[in-house]
C-alpha cells in the first residue's frame, strides 16, 4: 500500500511540475502530452486497488511489477525517440539559418563595397 501511495504522490508531483512549466510557457504542449498522460495513468493505477493486477492478468504478465517496468521503459524510449527526432529537425534548421546568414552577409558586403563604404 505504501509503495502505491508513493507512486501516486510522485505522479501528482510530476503532474503539478509539468502544469507549472506549461503555464509559464517554458514547455511546449507536444512535450507535455506524454508526461501528463503517464502521470494520470500512474495515479489511476496507484489509487485503484486491483487495477494493476487486472491489467497484468489481461495481458498475461505474471508479476504485476514487471508490467510497471515494461511500461516505464517503453515511455522513456518513446520520449528519447521524440527528443532525437526534434533534435535532428533543429540541427537541420540551425544549419539552414547559418547558411542564410552567411549568404546575407556576403550580399551585404558586396553592396557596401559597391557604394564605397567600409565593410
Amino acid at each position: 500500500m505504501s509503495a502505491s501511495l508513493l507512486g501516486a504522490v510522485a505522479a501528482i508531483l510530476v503532474f503539478i511540475f509539468i502544469v507549472i512549466l506549461l503555464r509559464r510557457g517554458l514547455l511546449k504542449e507536444k512535450y507535455a502530452v506524454l508526461w501528463l498522460l503517464f502521470a494520470a495513468v500512474t495515479v489511476v493505477f496507484a489509487l485503484v486497488p486491483g487495477a494493476l493486477r487486472w491489467v497484468s492478468d489481461l495481458l498475461g504478465v505474471e508479476i504485476p511489477s514487471n508490467l510497471i517496468f515494461f511500461a516505464t521503459s517503453t515511455l522513456l524510449i518513446l520520449v528519447s525517440i521524440q527528443m532525437n527526432y526534434e533534435l535532428s529537425r533543429h540541427e537541420a534548421r540551425i544549419r539552414r539559418l547559418a547558411e542564410e546568414v552567411a549568404l546575407l552577409r556576403e550580399r551585404l558586403d558586396e553592396r557596401e563595397g559597391e557604394s564605397g563604404g567600409t565593410p
Binding site: L22, R24, G25, K28, E29, K30, A32, L97
Partner: protein, 239 residues
C-alpha cells in the same frame, strides 16, 4: 488614417496567390500587402513579388502561426496600425476587408465569421464539435460572441498589433485559438463580422474522418493549455 497591412501567409500557393493579391490590391489600394512565404518549394515568392506584394521568405516551413508572428513583427517595425490576415488560397472575399477594418472601431480584434445565417459554408462531425466547443469557451472568456474562433480571415487593431508583435503563439491552433485567448486575457476586445467562404481554388481540403478526430483531440488540448496559461507570465520577446 491608419496604415493597413494585409498579411497573407502562403505555403506553396503559386497558382492562387497572384489572383488573391490583385483582388486585394484593387479593392483596397490604400493597404499594403505582405506575403509571408512560409518555406515554399514552388515559385510562390517570385509570383507574389511580381504581383506587387512585399515578400518575406522564411527559410523553412514554420506553419501559419509562425508566419503570422513574422507578419506582426514586420508590421510593428514598419509602423502599421492594422493587420488583416487573409488566406492565400482564395477562400476569402477581398471585398469583405472593409467590414473587418470598419469593425475595428468597436473591437481590438475582428474575426470573420463563416457560420453566419445565410452562409453556405458548413463543417460536420468531430471538427464541427471542436469548433463549437472552442467558440463556446472563448465567447465566455471574452464576454462576447465568437462564433468562428478558427477563422483565418481576421483583423487586428493597434492594440492587438502591439501585443501580437511581442506575444504570439506558434503552436498548433496558436494563430487562431491561442492568439484570441492571449488577446482576451490581456483585456483586448473581440468582435466578429460575417464573411463568405469559398471553396479552395487549388489543392485539396484537409478534411477526412481520422484527421477530424485528431483535430478534436488537439483542439481540446490547445484549449486546456490555453486555459492554464498565465498571460502575465508569458515570455514576451524583444521587438
Amino acid at each position: 488614417m491608419s496604415r493597413v497591412l494585409v498579411a497573407i501567409p502562403a505555403w506553396n500557393e503559386e497558382p492562387s496567390i497572384p489572383g488573391v493579391i490583385s483582388k486585394v490590391a484593387s479593392h483596397r489600394p490604400d493597404a499594403d500587402i505582405l506575403v509571408v512565404d512560409d518555406g515554399s518549394t514552388d515559385s510562390t515568392a517570385k509570383v507574389a513579388a511580381k504581383a506587387g506584394a512585399a515578400v518575406v521568405s522564411l527559410p523553412f516551413n514554420v506553419g501559419v502561426g509562425g508566419a503570422m508572428r513574422t507578419a506582426f513583427l514586420y508590421a510593428i517595425r514598419k509602423g502599421y496600425d492594422v493587420v488583416i490576415q487573409v488566406d492565400a488560397d482564395g477562400q476569402h472575399e477581398p471585398a469583405e476587408l472593409d467590414d473587418l477594418i470598419d469593425s475595428l472601431q468597436e473591437a481590438d480584434i475582428v474575426v470573420g465569421n463563416r457560420f453566419h445565417a445565410g452562409s453556405t459554408y458548413a463543417v460536420r462531425g468531430p471538427r464541427r464539435w471542436a469548433m463549437k466547443m472552442l467558440g463556446f469557451w472563448l465567447s465566455r472568456m471574452a464576454g462576447a460572441t465568437i462564433s468562428d474562433p478558427t477563422s483565418g480571415f481576421r483583423s487586428a487593431g493597434p492594440r492587438a498589433v502591439q501585443l501580437f508583435a511581442v506575444n504570439y503563439p506558434a503552436e498548433y491552433l496558436g494563430d487562431t485559438v491561442g492568439s484570441l485567448s492571449i488577446a482576451i486575457r490581456h483585456g483586448l476586445s473581440v468582435g466578429q463580422a460575417p464573411v463568405t467562404m469559398y471553396f479552395r481554388e487549388h489543392g485539396r481540403p484537409s478534411k477526412n474522418a481520422l484527421w477530424s478526430t485528431l483535430y478534436l483531440g488537439r483542439a481540446t488540448l490547445a484549449l486546456v493549455v490555453t486555459a492554464l496559461k498565465n498571460p502575465r507570465d508569458g515570455r514576451e520577446e524583444v521587438v
